[in-house]
Symmetry: C2
């Protein structure tokens, strides 16, 4: 089998952990597999480099930031190759330029366009374990780009797809995907498998284990992922194309506190007002999540939406600058909110799920201020202080500690 | 004018120094010049990375070492570009792969083969200051290589040659090339100019300011260098093609303590014995410097030579392993030796220079154990403890504090 394995920054943070991962890789080779490994930068390396750059210019150009940050992964792949060599196996490190990982030009947030296979395949055929820098690529100008937060997961999935790997293993510090964050919900259960669609929603909704873009890529190219621990031999969670035959209604609960609510009040109730508002925010690079619109007084309407906490200042500034153009009365915002979501592929055809969730929250005394639904998830906006209580209540209501919630 | 400037690791060791250099670069631009900058890694970065690798494997493969170490320069060029941008000027950082600095395959000690000009010229024509990683290149396998100690000087000279730059400035922490090490010889004098040939000898013989390979490249492609301080506005020393019209006999004194003497005794006095000996050492990658051969007793001969202190253990081991093949009686060695040299282009035609040097050492009570001469230098092997005294004596004898020693 050809296996792509990805290890995060904490798994390679020091010499001891590097050797731990090296042994794990060698075990996979001993079982008769070819292995391509994707690594993140060691431990705090990326944060240290960001701090160094901030001393010079907190608003340094993204091109130069990518040039700087990409060195972290290059260091970890070289060190890993040394460790594997030291243990008597042949390994070679490659950066994104050497592999030929082509991306869009968007520095700090590039998308992978294509991956050249020839160099990796040549090294594999020579009997080498290939260690590739995660998180980075090269754009059409030969410039180094980075893929944004969680980019190494995406690198691994894209490599697995390009190389037609039999398996893509994402190693992390937890044993797999859980029905809820085990630090909050004590009886959260590890899932044996979950569909790509559900995983995209879970990742987007705040489950930190996998980055949502990596799952989107996995879904698009139908790459089977295994999320498992680099510290134990436990089986992990399989993320694959379709689990609908299981009739699972709810497979997990997620929460996200990195969220702010903004309400724009007194917009004129005419077509195109919402479009004007959100296209302005889009141009400013602000990503809007839940949106609800309600009728206000005197033919006016209010629009509420959520953005990440980081984007709040720029959102307020953009609105203020365009107050006349948009023609609204005032803006309010709330930082102390959180999003609580349930995810499940079977939810679309079953309206009873939503009411069960609301009942759980009502019983727990948690107030809901916004609701958003899709085919496979239901998200509600609640007070930040209620998140843990809400998660536990919903998790219990669907009895997720026992089994996936399904309709008999 | 198109100017290539090279700054060493101590000049960019922290944020304050980076801004100091950034201002210096901007001053050069303000005078109407186009500027290409070559940087080393910050301060101790390279040593820190070497230590990190040594924790994993003190004998790590050179390919992976180069992959690791090259990240240091990439960090400093990105940070410098940020600093120049912050000061309101346009700068772009480029690594060796982006520029297209092609080298031989010899990891850790590669030679530059060719430099592509197109990317740098395009950025210059767009009005950018171009910041290039020193010390590194890319070989025909697309692998990162490094140029060995002092490699950033060589990068700068090679870029100046490829770009047909009008000037190549090597910035350092001293004000130029001196007649002797100013820390030892208090009245050492800064030279206004020195020929490439003399500078090659001075660098080879232990003057640490410029790396000898960089001067060899400068000589080969007739690149004029200026060695000057990054801390003051002093003029520096011009290193150029030919200063013979000056009839300078002796322009400087250099010393090197990183040296060991080895004597192989009782070799049979037949043709080819020396060849066998030195070709064996060459194959082991050992660089031999001064060689003298003397007749021993009973048709046997002794050969003495010097190697760097670092190569001593491997030299002794190589000799011991081949004792039967070489057919010698025994080997002795001495670690406590040093090489003292005088350099001057006019020396070849003037035998009086050597005797004056020996007289100076005799007067100072310094014993000479080996002598080696070339067209433009005389080196003697002396006790390590006598080096400082010997340098001062020779420097005084030729009156170098006043002017270059010349024949009237």
């Amino acid at each position: 089998m050809l296996i792509v394995q990805k290890y995060g920054g904490s798994s390679v943070a020091n010499t001891e952990r590097i050797f731990n991962v090296a042994n794990r890789i060698i075990d996979t080779v001993k079982e008769g597999n070819e292995v391509v490994v994707v690594l993140s930068a060691q431990g705090d390396t990326t944060d240290d480099l960001i701090a160094k750059a901030a001393e010079i210019d907190p608003n340094a150009s993204r091109r130069e930031m990518d040039m700087l940050l990409s060195t972290g992964e290059q260091q970890s792949v070289a060190l890993m190759a040394m460790a594997i060599n030291k243990l008597g196996y042949r390994a070679i490190s490659l950066n994104a330029a050497q592999v030929g990982i082509s991306t869009s030009s968007a520095y700090s947030n590039a998308k992978i366009r294509s991956i050249r296979k020839s160099r990796i395949e040549r090294e594999l055929s020579r009997g080498y374990i290939v260690i590739v820098t995660g998180f980075q690529g090269v754009n059409k100008y030969d410039d180094v780009t980075t893929l944004g937060r969680g980019g190494s997961d995406t690198s691994a999935v894209a490599l697995a797809s390009a190389l037609h790997a039999d398996l893509c293993e994402i190693y992390t510090d937890v044993e797999g995907i859980y029905t809820a964050d085990p630090r909050v919900v004590k009886n959260a259960r590890k899932l044996d498998y979950i569909s790509h669609d559900e995983m995209v929603e879970l990742a987007t909704l705040g489950a930190k284990v996998l980055h949502n873009r990596s799952v989107e890529v996995a879904k698009k190219y139908n790459v089977e992922l295994v999320v498992r621990s680099s510290l134990t031999k436990a089986e992990g969670t399989l993320v694959k194309g379709d689990t609908k035959m299981e009739k699972v209604l709810v497979s997990g609960v997620a929460s996200d506190k990195d969220i702010s609510r903004i309400t724009v009040m007194g917009l004129s109730d005419q077509p195109g007002e919402a479009f004007k508002l959100f296209s302005l925010l889009d141009k400013a690079g602000i990503c809007v999540d839940i949106i609800i619109q309600s009728l206000g007084r005197k033919s006016k309407k209010d629009i509420s939406f959520t953005v990440s906490k980081q984007d709040l200042p720029m959102t307020l500034e953009t609105l203020e600058k365009n107050k006349d153009r948009l023609g609204f009365a005032e803006v309010s915002h709330d930082d102390n909110v959180a999003k609580l979501s349930i995810v499940g592929a079977g939810m679309a055809t079953n309206s009873g799920v939503a009411s069960l969730m609301f009942e759980a929250l009502f019983d727990a005394g948690v107030n809901i201020s916004m609701i958003s639904t899709s085919e496979i998830k239901i998200s509600v906006l609640i007070d930040e202080k209620d998140v843990e209580r809400g998660m536990i209540a919903v998790h219990d209501k669907f009895n997720l500690a026992e089994s996936n919630y399904r309709r008999d």
